[in-house]
Each structure stands twice: as C-alpha cells, then as structure tokens.
Symmetry: C2
Subunit: 209 residues, 2 copies
Amino acid sequence: MTKQLLQEKYNHILDEKLIKEIFEIGTFKTFKKDDIIIDINQPLQHIPLLLTGHIKILREDNEGNELLIYFLEAGETCTMSLTCCLGTTKSKIRAVAEEDSSLVMIPVENMQKWFNNNDSWRNFILEAYQTRFDEMLETIDNLAFMKMDERLYKYLYNKTILHNSKIIIVKHQDIAIDLHTSRVVISRLLKQLENKNKIKLSRNKIEVF
Amino acid sequence: MTKQLLQEKYNHILDEKLIKEIFEIGTFKTFKKDDIIIDINQPLQHIPLLLTGHIKILREDNEGNELLIYFLEAGETCTMSLTCCLGTTKSKIRAVAEEDSSLVMIPVENMQKWFNNNDSWRNFILEAYQTRFDEMLETIDNLAFMKMDERLYKYLYNKTILHNSKIIIVKHQDIAIDLHTSRVVISRLLKQLENKNKIKLSRNKIEVF
DNA sequence: ACCTTTAAGTAACATTTATCACAAATACAA
DNA sequence: TTGTATTTGTGATAAATGTTACTTAAAGGT
C-alpha cells in the first residue's frame, strides 16, 4: 500500500530503484488533522516525503509569534527539513497536519548519499528548493505589499484550492493565528468581505465565491 | 588578477580544477555602485559568482513596489538566479550593486553540468540554497513580527556590519524604498531613534551606536 | 555670497491594524 | 429543553503607519 502510494506520487520524478530503496529504508507514519509533525529546535534526523494529505509549514519566533508560510501537498518534501538536517540553522519552524496525512521519513544519511549518487534524487531536491523558494518569495510579497483584507482573501482562496472545495471549515481564531493578527481583526474583515459578496459566513464555516 | 580573486574567495568550497575551469569559461564583469546587475523577467542565461563588493537583492511586484530581501557578499552566489535559470519561475527580482563590485558570470549549461559531475560545486549550490533560505526566513520574520522602527534599526545595524563602519551614507528616501514605506515615516522614526540616542543624524549620513 | 537643488523636519489628517470589553448567536451536552 | 461553552459580532479607543503639504536646512555650483 505504502509502496503503491510512493510509486504513484513520486514516480514522475524519482527512479524505480530509488523508490524501492525508499520503501525499504523509510519509516511510514500517519498523522491526524492538527497533529504536530515537526517542531524544530535542534537538527532533524529525518526528512519527510509526503504521501497523502496536506501539511502546513509555520514560522515561529522566540516570543511565540506564528505565521503560516506555505502548504505542502502529496509528492512534496519540506526543504526546511533539509536545511535543518544539513545545517547550522537556528530556524524555528513547525509542520502541522492540515488534514489527516501520511508520509515516509528518510534518515539524513540516505538523503546525503543519494544526493551524490542518484540523478533523480538530486533533481528532486533541486526542484523542491526552487518550488519552496518561489513560495517564500510569494509569502514575502504578501507580507510586504498586501493589506490584511487581501491577505485574508488570498488565504481563503488558497484553502479552497487546497481542499478542492468552496466551503472551508475553520474558525476565525485559527485564521488569525495563521496570518499573525487578532481574531477581532479577522472577524471584522470577514464581515466586510461578506458585505462585498465575496464570501458567506457561518459558524465554523466559510463559503468562498 | 581575476584568477587570484576567484582562488581567494572560493577555494574554501570549490576545488582547484573547477576554479580553473570557471576562470576559463566565466565572463568577468564590474559594476559601479547602484548599477543594476540583474533585472529579471525572463530566464537568465548566466549565474553570477560575486568576487568583490556587495550586492543587494530586491523583490519587485507588478505595481512597482519594492523590498530589500538580503545582501550578497564576496564568495556568494544568488540562488534566485539559479531558480531563474533552471526554472519556470515568474519571480521578479533585481540585483543592484550596493557598492563597486565585480563578479564572474557562468553560463547555465556549465552550472548544470558541474552540478552532476563535481562534488564541490554541488556542495556550493546546496550551501547557497541553505544560506539564502535562512535569510528569506529572517526577512519573513522581519516583515511579520517586527514594527517599522525595529526593522529600521536592524536595517541600519546590518549596514554597519556590511560596510564595516558605524557611519552609513544614505538618504532617508533610499531607506524608505528598501523597507517599502515612505520617506516621511522613515524620517520620523529616525528622529525617534536619535532621541533615544541610538543613532546620530546628519544630511546623507547616519551614525549608528 | 548668492542661488538652486536636494534632503530632511514637521504638522495635520487619513487609514489600517491592534486591543479591550462585552453582547449576541450557535452548537452541544445533560 | 435548558444550560453551558464556544464562537462570532461590534462599539470604543489606541497605536502604528500612510499621505499631503509645506517649511527648514544643507550642499554644491556659479
């Protein structure tokens, strides 16, 4: 089952042999919605390959502030983990299951080995870096150039894409945390969006038009 | 002369043979302060290795908004260029000489080739990604968690480090552009910082304590 | 020394975001 | 159904940032 998932999600980028090796070496794990998958202070010993579900990657600073950076989907890996694995970084990031998810954990040693002797892995990592890079840039754009109401709408819109549904199940408080603002601000802006007929509000639920 | 510089700045990470090859293949270029080094819309054909000076990397959106992301120093390369070279990215970034600078431009093909057959180059690229990644995260922190006065002081402080001098030569307007705010706001906050004895203001010049 | 240009200071006001306090609405359990 | 906990709505107010318009100061050229 896991093997089939691995095949399905990764055979467009990783070669047969490597997938087989990953299956043999990797540890399969499952997480429920809102489970914390990674919470980093010290270097990681494993990097995750996402098989099913979605994961959100959050930034966290020393004062406990938090901000959503981006989402991971099946077939992707978290470059942050790479950085943390390989690195000297002191970055604090957190990975939380956006919904029930499963993944394969790979020991750092292999990641290093494959990087030197497997073309498809090298490509995979490079592509991952590029994708994440672009997403970080977009996060920077959002923060630097957009007002909160725009950021909010974009956040909602992205969620509809991610979950493939116009209806989002979420509390205002949770949105506030992801966007690093307060619940009151979010409620207010949501109400404005509703008045502009861009969304429809219910308790624990938002419909995005 | 270029060869010596290359040696000096890159021999801690790239092997002898590769440095020789870079010297033979690369194009040496010099830039004056404030020269635009890269202005991206379409994919790049070369990636730069910085030899002397400093370069600032800016983000630019469609409406002409701008934001300083980070500085590059000698011995570094711009991962953005990699992304742009290899990629599908539609990112707009700009690289501007923070002071007189020199660099070597390397054709993409080589970058690709070396990535597959030279360990030191692979390492170099990987390290570059990691360093930039961390800096992007820091940029995100700044934007998400810090108020403008803190961002301003950090900006000034970073400049003193970069130029190795307590005295910075800048105009308020330039700072405003880098931090994506208005000149008036910067002037006001600078005055506050001065009142708190953290800096001393003169025309075109700021002393940071 | 005078004029011109550029940079910086500042007051007044607008907008955006943050914060507090509490009321209203909804869901959920007993 | 009733009571309780949770979520959402909203007014009042503060703080941070943005904007406009104008003044003052400094630098540089003639």
